[in-house]
Symmetry: C2
Subunit: 187 residues, 2 copies
DNA sequence: GTCTATATAGTGATAGAC
DNA sequence: GTCTATCACTATATAGAC
């Protein structure tokens, strides 16, 4: 594995743990086992390296989600598979945790992979809900676009509750609640 | 207003905008118009000042929420009032935005006001849901504790979606979706 | 491509005068 | 109580040798 590759993966890990503001180039270099000059040879600076790391993390997250969405089963089952997916809850969401970072929120470029990821998740769940409605799996009255956004938000909010309490159970309770709500629409 | 008071309010504002890691004592002092020595006279250091600021923000948030919860109306209406409450969405939640901060998440003392706030919100909504169930406002099958957690999570997640997209509409869509889901349980 | 040296600014705090 | 001075350390690079 090349040095540039190791730097990106180290940046991914540190961004996940400490966010953008909390991650220094020096820390990335040390984790990657690379010198100062080496990093600045491969990347223009911290924002450049961070952007590549964020893009990579966002892609990986979408791929993990798609695995669950494209399973066999009913719409409800596939959405449940996504919500109940195994997660390292107390590490937080490696994409969503960056949303409040002032340098990320303030930079359209750094923010773009986040926006794209959540737009993708929402759209994908919306499609499943529409499919379920057509097949009579859900009763009427549901607004798929809104409900899909709410379900994506439940997962992101569940991370916030869990980290605030220092307990995985808070995550699980919120996700169960999301599914309990969705179940109210099942025919 | 005393210097200590101005320092706390300045810290509240900067913690809201930039989080704990992104907020320096110097920045707080400048915003408060106080010198270095003045801050260290009134507070033991950054963690001490931050703790007092976080506690204050958490209290204020709970008071704002309680205003909506204790309104007249049905359980659904009062929960909706909380969800639809006016918010400075793109500034994020001043309490929830700290949950992913590594120094906050890693400090039981700094984290405690967050955990307390979300426990309060969840419990309060759970009470409203139970009240609604008893009065026949909601149909059976609902698990109040789980649904309450999900609704709190929807709000926190909605902030994440909005900041990621740089658009308030994402917040509004997720919250509408949360209410659309809850409406499925109304008798 | 990688290394060491150097630079400027900021961080979080202490010391001691006023 | 507040101020200025100072400190050791880190952040984010740039320069230039190898």
């Amino acid at each position: 594995m090349g040095t540039a590759e190791r730097l990106i993966e180290s940046a991914q890990q540190l961004l996940w743990e400490r966010g953008y503001v909390g991650t220094s180039p020096k820390a990335i270099q040390q984790l990657a086992g690379a010198g100062q000059g080496s990093m600045y040879h491969h990347f223009a600076g911290k924002p450049d390296l961070a952007l590549q790391a964020i893009r990579r993390s966002a892609e990986e997250l979408r791929a993990q989600a798609e695995e669950k969405f494209s399973q066999p089963g009913t719409a409800y089952e596939r959405i449940a598979a996504y919500l109940l997916r195994e997660r390292d809850v107390l590490r937080g969401c490696r994409v969503g945790r960056l949303a409040h970072d002032p340098e990320v929120a303030g930079s359209p470029a750094l923010r773009e992979p986040l926006g794209e990821t959540f737009a993708y998740l929402r759209r994908r769940i919306e499609e499943l809900l529409e499919e379920g409605l057509e097949q009579g799996e859900f009763v009427g009255g549901m607004v798929p676009a809104d409900v899909a956004a709410a379900l994506v938000a439940v997962v992101q909010g569940a991370y916030v509750l869990a980290q605030s309490a220092g307990s995985v159970q808070e995550f699980e309770r919120a996700v169960r609640g999301g599914l309990n709500l969705l179940a109210a629409y099942t025919a």
